[in-house]
Subunit: 331 residues, 2 copies
């Protein structure tokens, strides 16, 4: 059976392009004892993967040139030599960008039937949802009536952050990159939403946060962050989750030094990655599933179709093309 | 009785100078019921006071133009209408820069006899010592064998930080601004000390911290901080205590954005001021006193003599003139 894989062809300088990816077609290897053959159903494309395309240490090991790209994948067991994973099971795991995958089952999580659409285990009930959950509820700990700002609010993580902050009784301000996204955030229940591409960011944020900012969940960095730093209340908490505004910068970004502002407000800024909370994932997934089933959490996906479109969908992340989770439906 | 007071004459732009201070001589007011008359013995000059000379919110309210400067003072009760403060008592409190002070006793702490020199209650056993204690032990929480960097290491806070880190079994690196200070830090037990004025800061820090940096206690900011950010280990902790390198900048300082580095190491950066730990001060003072009496903590003062020299001693802080606590002995 023919099997396509997407490899890292070269490391990008600045913004990645289609040339950094290479397709390879091989024959699927025969199933061996204690293994399963997986058919890839949904592939997750995520901003953090840009960091893995660089050489040198980031918070996840770099991809190797000439080796498959890997990330979050939902797949179906189509052949099985493992009792624990019968044919027809759906699993989620960190897997290569490949149509058919041989696996020993290690690191795979079985997806429960009928709780949510399978692709949600790459979004609301997967890595992005858990990122929102732990970053907001453990690091920021918003209290009722406090003001929460989330940047990249219409992304997979941001839209969950905003809804969780509303569940906790906070006033929620989101930033996003189009009027359509702003309208979507308002519809989701955000108190204020700002189009950072058209607004005067410092003025718009100051107007939206008349009582200052208690919590900031940062997916973006740069000018939005600079403006939030000027509005911090005493004992503010910042969950530092992403910096998509600078991922494609060829040179190290420069800006106003934040330390003086963090110092005089006794602010806590905590960098994190969802794997820091690995042992608490089951609790997080359980709570997110419960709120989803109670109708307290909505979710949104931007779905691209076809295995060959995975690089395009990935590149679209840096053009702000997705609302909610960017997913590729492979089969 | 003639009584001199030092007032804020004008707000400095950039580096303060003698012109920003004004001396005023008045007659001491007569003692009234339920008050004491204090004779100022020691005055503390501290970098944080620079922030109070500016207009606008900092972490402490600004001084007012035409009003007395105030800060940490050790004084002796010379007349008393308060049973709780008999003549001869020594007290420490936040008091005006004034030779004789009328006080209702509120906010004053009595200094225990024979535990330590009275001026130490402005240093090791006062605000700077407690700043070191809570910043290092609560925010950084160094573990045995971890690497701790402290900037401004030969200052009143820094030298306590380094010794506390040694008590906790960490490897300690300090930065300071002269070879004499570096020699003093080595003598105090610091594993490495760097003269930031003559060293290549990134190279010297990398050489001194071959296993990376787990804890950073920052009194200084700027280029030293930039270099430390490049050496952070996963789950590093930063106690953000001061930014003396930029206190006199007329314009907001600009530099490399730190967020990407804090993000990929899951670093916690916590701004703080010692008053955040107000309720725990007695515990901190008790522990510092115990370690001091056991010979585990040494302390150093740079003493200037004479009330009229207070502004000069304050201005000297920004020229790096002091090793340890800068104190003015008034009487």
């Amino acid at each position: 059976m023919q099997n396509k894989t997407i490899l890292l062809a070269s490391r990008p300088t600045g913004t990645p392009s289609a040339e950094n990816f290479r397709f390879e077609t091989t024959e699927t290897l025969p199933l061996t004892a204690d293994h399963v053959l997986l058919k890839t159903r949904y592939v997750s494309v995520d901003p953090y993967m840009r960091g893995r395309m660089n050489e040198g240490k980031s918070y996840v090991a770099p991809f190797e040139v000439g080796q498959p790209i890997a990330g979050g994948v939902v797949a179906e067991v189509v052949e099985s030599q493992l009792d624990t994973l019968p044919i027809g099971s759906l699993v989620v795991g960190n897997l290569p960008w490949q149509q058919y995958i041989l696996s020993d089952g290690k690191g795979l999580q079985q997806i429960p039937a009928d709780q949510a659409p399978p692709s949600y285990y790459l979004g609301l009930l997967g890595m992005p949802g858990l990122t929102a959950y732990f970053g907001l509820l453990d690091i920021c700990q918003p209290k009722p009536g406090e003001t929460v700002v989330v940047s990249g609010a219409a992304g997979a993580v941001g839209l969950v952050v905003g809804q969780l902050a509303k569940i906790k009784g906070a006033r929620v301000i989101g930033t996003a990159g189009s009027d359509e996204k702003v309208a979507y955030l308002k519809q989701l229940g955000f108190d204020e939403a700002i189009n950072y591409k058209t607004a005067n960011i410092p003025e718009a944020l100051a107007a939206a946060a008349p009582n200052g900012v208690d919590c900031y969940f940062d997916n973006v960095g740069g000018a939005i962050t600079d403006a939030v730093y000027d509005l911090l209340n005493k004992h503010a908490r910042i969950a530092l989750c992403g910096q998509i505004s600078s991922y494609n910068d060829a040179q190290a970004p420069v800006g106003p030094r934040p330390e003086g502002k963090l110092l005089k407000t006794s602010t806590k800024l905590q960098g994190f990655i969802v794997s820091d909370y690995y042992t608490q994932w089951p609790e997080g997934t359980r709570q997110l599933t419960e709120w989803y089933q109670q109708g307290k959490l909505q979710f949104e996906e931007t779905v691209t179709e076809g295995f060959d479109q995975i690089p395009t969908a990935f590149l679209g992340l840096f053009k702000g093309e997705n609302t909610g989770k960017a997913i590729v439906k492979v089969a």
